[in-house]
């Protein structure tokens, strides 16, 4: 929301406090409900609601960039990934012996204890924070001109602290590699494997198809716009990639999966392209006698926008691969199709 709209919608202090308080309570409540829910589907839905409320909280804190990322990646794509996993779990039901009371207790402690310790430490840190430290905001604003982009968040992510962003891009690529690594194949996996029964595809939903046909081009346009606008307003590669991946997820559930398959060679090359482009940009700076990833003022704008373009496409390919899950294991010879 623009600052203009924010100011015209300015509420009285009492109303703002009441709204923020309600938001805080709802966030804590949905988080608790999501964790303690016995039904997995319910837990996933509550998690998505939790993510959307969290995005609203970021907006209230004046951080629309974080809000966008939280809504697109935190609530949207993570929710889709959870739902996909849930579908897999339901399709490939494995018969496991029920957990004993001791096992259940152990599991709870193993998860609960670190969470409580980490939460306690975070609370301690939060309580010790100096309320009015100037922070780095002034520093960023003073040097923003050297990056050529007018969005301070993008200046930080793609120039001042681009090492962090580089690592985030690599982490996503690693996630895809790990997912693909879960596919059992090769001589190491010769154990008896029970092939899950082929699930009949649900019939095509004409209304859904109608909707997705109209929404998909619009959403793709939003993705491109988010990349382009990132240099001057909230947006950027991650948000753009999340929107493009969401389009893919929509096409997938409506039975209109796009070619090429997410694990085809061109797509794999695209997945690697983001990390490669980022690292080579850094190395090019080294070769030019600068510090790794330190952009010269004259070309910073062009480099940032083009790198974000490559990153958006590459991250989208990675996210799509994650949504699509690991490719099916190759059929072993002698097995009937």
């Amino acid at each position: 929301m623009s600052t203009l709209a924010m100011s015209t919608l300015a509420m009285s202090p009492l109303a703002t406090t009441a709204f923020d308080g309600m938001l805080a309570v709802l966030i804590a409540w949905t988080a608790w409900q999501s964790v303690t829910s016995r039904e997995v589907f319910r837990a996933v839905m509550l998690f998505v609601v939790f993510g959307l409320l969290l995005a609203l909280a970021w907006l209230r804190l004046g951080a629309p960039d974080v809000a966008l990322a939280e809504a697109a990646v935190g609530a949207g794509l993570t929710g889709v990934l959870f739902l996909e996993s849930l579908g897999h779990l339901r399709r490939n039901k494995t018969v496991e012996p029920p957990e004993t009371v001791a096992q259940s207790r152990l599991r709870r402690w193993a998860v609960g204890l670190p969470v409580v310790v980490a939460g306690g430490l975070l609370a301690m840190v939060a309580l010790r924070l100096e309320p009015r430290v100037p922070g780095i905001a002034g520093l960023v604003v003073r040097h923003q001109g050297e990056t050529g982009v007018s969005n301070p968040v993008t200046a930080v992510l793609l120039d001042f602290r681009s090492t962090d962003t580089l690592l985030e891009v690599v982490v996503l690529l690693l996630a895809v590699i790990a997912t693909y690594g879960l596919v059992p194949h090769g001589p190491a996996h010769h154990g008896p494997r029970v092939r899950p029964p082929a699930t009949p595809r649900p019939p095509r939903q004409p209304v859904l198809v109608w909707f997705v046909r109209r929404l998909a081009p619009l959403a793709l346009l939003v993705g491109v716009y988010l990349w382009w606008v990132g240099s001057s307003a909230p947006g950027g590669a991650f948000q753009a990639a999340a929107v493009v991946a969401a389009v893919f997820a929509l096409l997938r559930v409506s039975g209109m999966e796009a070619a090429p398959p997410p694990n085809a060679r061109p797509m794999r090359l695209l997945m690697v392209a983001g990390s490669v482009a980022f690292v080579s940009q850094g190395l090019a700076m080294l070769a030019a006698g600068r510090v790794f990833l330190d952009l010269p003022e004259t070309v910073a704008y062009g480099l940032i926008v083009s790198l974000e373009g490559v990153l958006a496409a590459s991250l989208a390919a990675c996210l799509i691969a994650l949504v699509a899950g690991a490719p099916r294991p190759p059929r072993q010879s002698g097995e009937r199709p």
Partner: protein, 106 residues
Amino acid sequence: MIDLLRDGLTIVLLLGGAFFFAAGTIGLLRFPDVYSRLHALTKADNVGLGLTVLAFLIQADSVMQGLKLVLVWALAVTASATIANLFANLAHRQGVREWRKPEDRP
């Protein structure tokens, strides 16, 4: 004068929108089966959001801003209608019967 009129109309429209959202929420919580709950939910999305958008539309500073508001409404309405259709379809395929008054039950 015209500003006063416009603000008054906005308040009336917002109250109307809030009424439909509240009614939709109550319906979602209180209605007996999935079909009628969907009915309540889509009313909130459709009319509730429609009136809210209308309230903001007459306050819009530019045509662009107004168009964005209309786009938000159109996207929300088509998405809500599609999702309602999917849920109802799934329930129907799973054999969920529609609720009937006790005296009408066979």
